[in-house]
C-alpha cells in the first residue's frame, strides 16, 4: 500500500468579513494497489473453482462449497475491508486541529454521485464561508470556488478531493493540545512511527492517524507544523498575559 503526502498551505477566508488566516492542511493519500486486489481476487477464484470442481467431480457435500464461500468472503473482507482513501490533518491557527479519516466507498467515483454531492453542499447555508465545520470537504469546495478552479457543476467531477465513503472527524481546540509527539511503536512483528497528541485531561495519547501508518518522513513536517502552531499560540497567550 503506497502512501503519498499532499500538503496544502492555502489562504482562505475564515468568514466573509474577517481577516485572512492561513490554514495548514496535510493529506495522506493511499495509493490503491491494483496488483494486491488482483492477487486477492485471483486467489479467491482459484479456491472457489477448486471447491466447485471437487463438488462436481467427486460428489463432495455442499457444505464444503459453502465453507469455501464463507472463508473467501472473510478473506476478502479482512484484506479489503474499510479501505482508507486518505487521512487529513487540518491545522487552524488560533482555533484548533481537525483530524479526518476518509473511507472509500464500494462504489466507483462517477459523475452522478459527484453532482449529487455538489448540489447537496451548494444548498447549504455555509457553502462558501465556514472552514471549521465537520464537513471538511466543503473547505475544498469553497477553496475551489475561491480559486476559480471550479465554475460549473460539471467541472466538479474533475475535482480530485471528492469522496463517497464514510468520514470520521475529530476536532481538538488548541487550548486542549499540550504537545504533539512522535513515538516509536513496537508490535510483535514490526516497528513504526506514530504521531500523537498529548491532550489535556486525557489519560491516553490521541493518535493523529487512526488507520494509516505513514513513514516518519511524512510525519515530521506535520509534527513540525503542529509544534509551530502550538508554540505560536503559547507565545500569544504569554504576550496577552504579560
Amino acid at each position: 500500500m503506497k502512501i503519498q503526502l499532499l500538503i496544502e498551505d492555502i489562504l482562505t477566508r475564515v468568514n466573509v468579513n474577517g481577516p485572512i488566516e492561513a490554514i495548514d492542511i496535510h493529506h495522506i493519500f493511499v495509493r490503491r494497489s491494483w496488483a494486491k486486489r488482483f492477487f486477492i481476487y485471483l486467489s479467491v477464484i482459484v479456491v472457489l473453482s477448486k471447491s466447485l470442481f471437487l463438488l462436481l467431480s467427486k460428489d463432495q457435500s455442499i457444505p464444503v462449497l459453502l465453507w469455501s464461500f464463507i472463508l473467501s468472503g472473510f478473506f476478502i473482507k479482512l484484506l479489503l475491508w474499510k479501505p482508507v482513501e486518505k487521512e487529513t490533518v487540518i491545522i487552524m491557527p488560533a482555533l484548533g486541529v481537525q483530524l479526518e479519516t476518509h473511507y472509500l466507498s464500494q462504489m466507483h467515483l462517477d459523475s452522478l454521485g459527484s453532482k449529487f454531492l455538489l448540489y447537496g453542499f451548494s444548498l447549504g447555508p455555509e457553502s462558501d464561508s465556514v472552514v471549521f465545520l465537520p464537513h471538511a470537504n466543503m473547505i475544498n469546495l469553497a477553496l475551489a470556488f475561491e480559486a476559480n478552479v471550479v465554475e460549473t457543476a460539471e467541472d466538479f467531477e474533475l475535482f480530485p478531493f471528492v469522496n463517497h465513503g464514510r468520514i470520521i472527524r475529530q476536532f481538538f481546540p488548541l487550548d486542549k493540545i499540550l504537545r504533539p509527539v512522535l513515538l516509536e511503536c513496537v508490535t510483535p512483528i514490526t516497528c513504526y512511527w506514530s504521531l500523537s497528541l498529548v491532550v489535556r485531561d486525557e489519560g491516553e495519547l490521541m493518535l493523529v492517524f487512526q488507520e494509516l501508518r505513514p513513514p516518519v518522513k511524512m510525519l515530521v513536517p506535520i509534527w513540525k507544523a503542529l509544534c509551530a502552531t502550538i508554540d505560536d499560540k503559547k507565545g500569544l497567550d504569554t504576550d496577552d498575559g504579560s
Binding site: E184, C185, V186, I189, K217, V220
Partner: protein
C-alpha cells in the same frame, strides 16, 4: 585498542526490570560501551505493561517486544515468529553485530539464528554452567550446539565456564574468550561504621533454590549456632588476643535474604532448633537494598552447588565482608588476583575468602576459620582492592576486542554455513540444516514483501555532555526529512 565504533544489539530474555547476574551484566556492559562511543540497543520481551521502546540512563535504547514470557521469563519458542521484528530492528537501528546472552534464553537463540541468516556477525555470552546427564541439560546442550555452530565468537565469564561451554556445544576453544564479570563498587561500599562486635552476623543473600545450596544451609546454620552459643560484649582488641577461645565467647547470628521454594525448609529448620532470635528471614530483597543488607553483617556465606562466576561474592567483598563460599565452578576464579605483570595468577590470601567443599561439615569448618580471621579484616582496604581488580570499564574494553575480532571474520554464504550445521549430528545436523534453509527462504520472502529500503532508519538521539537535556538533533538536522 580499537577505534572503530560499533552498533551492537544485545538480545536476551533477561533484562530490567528483572534483577540478576545476566541482567546486571547486560546493563553495565551496555553503559560502559556507550561511554566508549559505541551505539548499544537492547532487545528483550515485554514485562507486564512495559512494552515498546524505552530509554534508560545514558541513552540506552531498549525494545520491549510484546512477546509474552512463556515459562521462567522465556519467550515462547516459535523458530520463525521473531524473524520479522528482529529484521526490522536490525535494519532500522543500522546494527553491525548482535550479542546474545544466556543459553537459557529462547529469544537469544532465535535472534542469533536470524541474524546469521541475514549475514550479521553474532557473539554469544554464556553466563551459567549446565550439566550433561539429565533430559533438560541434553536438550539445552543440543540447542546450544545449533546456535553456536555458526557463531562468530563466544564469551564466557570464567575458565570453568569456557570448559563447560566448549564441551557442551563442541565449539572450538580458540573461538571462546574469557571475560570475567565485574561489580559496581560505587554502589557496593562498606558501612561507615562496622557492625558491633558483640555478635558476628553472617549474611546469606541468594535465591532459595536447590542449585544455590539452600539444602546445605539447612544443615550448616544449626551447627554453627551450636558452636557459638554465648553472648559476650568483648572489646575488639581483647578479641584479637583470645582467638583460640572465640568459640565460647561469641554469638553468631544469620540474616537470610531471598525467596524461593526452599524457604519453607529454612523456616522449618528455624522452628525445629528454636533459632528464631538467631536466624532472621528477610524474604525477597530488592536489588537496591542488597548493599544495605550486606553492610549489616561481617561474613557473607555462599553455598551454591554450581556457579559460573558468582557476582554475589564480588559484591560482598566490595562491601568489606569476608566471604565463605563453596569451591564450585568458577568461584575460585572469582577470587583470582592478577599480578601487575599479568604473569601469574594468585589465589587471594585467606583473609579475603575461605573456600569449602559443598559439604555441611567442611562448610562449618570454613565458617569457624573465617570467624577466627575476622578481626584482621579491614572493610575499606578490601573495598579499595576490589575497585582495582574488578570494574566494568575493563570488561567493556575486553568485549570491544571480541567485537573487533568478530567483525574480521569472513562472510560466508548459506552453503558454507550449512556444512557447519551438518557436523552437529547424524540426524540433528540435517534437521538444523532444514531449519536454516527454511529461515533463509522466509527471510527472502520478507525481503520481497517488505524490502529493506522501505524500513526507515532511526535517527540517533545525541545526549549533550553538559546534561542540559536531550535533544532530538537528527530530526531537525536531517536534510532528507525536509
Amino acid at each position: 585498542m580499537a577505534n572503530e565504533k560499533h552498533r551492537i544489539l544485545m538480545v536476551s530474555d533477561f533484562f530490567y526490570p528483572n534483577f540478576g547476574g545476566v541482567e546486571n551484566h547486560i546493563y553495565y556492559l551496555s553503559q560502559c560501551l556507550l561511554k566508549l562511543g559505541h551505539k548499544v540497543v537492547v532487545m528483550t520481551h515485554a514485562y507486564g505493561n512495559r512494552s515498546g521502546v524505552r530509554y534508560m540512563t545514558g541513552g540506552l535504547k531498549v525494545y520491549y517486544v510484546p512477546w509474552r514470557p512463556f515459562v521462567m521469563q522465556n519467550t515462547l519458542p516459535t523458530f520463525y515468529g521473531t524473524l520479522p521484528i528482529i529484521r526490522t530492528i536490525l535494519i532500522r537501528e543500522k546494527i553491525s553485530l548482535v550479542h546474545g546472552h544466556q543459553a537459557f534464553s529462547t529469544l537469544c537463540h532465535e535472534a542469533l539464528m536470524h541474524a546469521r541468516t541475514m549475514g550479521y556477525k553474532v557473539i554469544f555470552t554464556d553466563h551459567s554452567l549446565y550439566g550433561f546427564a539429565d533430559v533438560g541439560s541434553i536438550h539445552m546442550n543440543k540447542v546450544l550446539q545449533f546456535t553456536l555452530a555458526d557463531v562468530s565468537q563466544a564469551i564466557c565469564v570464567s575458565h570453568t565456564s569456557k570448559e563447560n561451554t566448549v564441551l557442551r556445544s563442541g565449539l572450538p576453544p580458540e573461538k571462546v574468550f574469557v571475560i570475567p564479570n565485574a561489580v559496581d563498587t560505587a554502589m557496593f561500599k562498606p558501612a561507615p561504621v562496622r557492625p558491633g562486635n558483640n555478635e558476628i552476623i553472617i549474611v546469606v543473600i541468594s535465591r532459595l533454590v536447590y542449585r544455590k545450596g539452600a539444602d546445605l544451609l539447612v544443615e550448616v546454620i544449626p551447627e554453627v549456632c551450636r558452636c557459638y552459643p554465648n553472648v559476650s560484649n568483648l572489646d575488639h582488641d581483647f578479641l584479637c588476643t583470645l582467638q583460640s577461645h572465640l568459640e565460647t565467647h561469641f554469638k553468631v547470628r544469620f540474616i537470610v535474604g531471598g525467596d524461593g521454594p526452599k524457604r519453607v525448609r529454612l523456616e522449618e529448620m528455624r522452628e525445629k532448633h528454636s533459632l528464631q532470635d538467631r536466624v532472621e528471614m528477610l524474604g525477597a530483597v530488592p536489588h537496591a537494598h542488597v548493599q544495605s543488607v550486606l553492610i549489616s553483617g561481617h561474613i557473607f556465606l555462599n553455598s551454591s552447588l554450581t556457579e559460573a562466576f558468582c557476582i554475589a561474592i564480588l559484591e560482598a567483598a566490595s562491601c568489606g565482608l569476608l566471604t565463605v563460599s563453596t569451591r564450585v565452578g568458577g568461584v575460585p576464579e572469582a577470587c583470582i588476583m592478577r599480578c601487575p605483570l599479568y604473569l601469574v595468577n594468585f589465589v587471594l590470601p585467606d583473609d579475603m575468602i575461605v573456600l569449602a567443599e559443598p559439604d555441611p561439615v567442611d562448610m562449618v569448618l570454613a565458617i569457624r576459620k573465617a570467624i577466627s580471621i575476622l578481626p584482621k579484616i579491614d572493610p575499606q582496604v578490601m573495598h579499595d582492592r576490589m575497585k582495582k581488580l574488578y570494574h566494568w570499564q575493563d570488561v567493556a574494553k575486553r568485549t570491544e576486542i571480541v567485537y573487533d575480532r568478530a567483525l574480521k571474520c569472513s562472510n560466508q554464504n548459506l552453503l558454507e554455513r550449512l556444512s557447519r550445521y551438518l557436523s552437529c549430528g547424524a540426524w540433528a545436523g540435517k534437521l538444523f540444516c532444514l531449519v536454516m534453509i527454511i529461515d533463509y527462504l522466509l527471510w527472502r520472502l520478507l525481503e520481497l514483501w517488505k524490502p529493506a529500503e522501505d524500513i526507515e532508519e532511526v535517527p540517533d538521539i545525541i545526549l549533550p555532555h553538559h546534561q542540559d537535556g536531550e535533544k532530538l538533533q537528527d530530526f531537525n538536522e536531517d536534510e532528507s526529512l525536509r
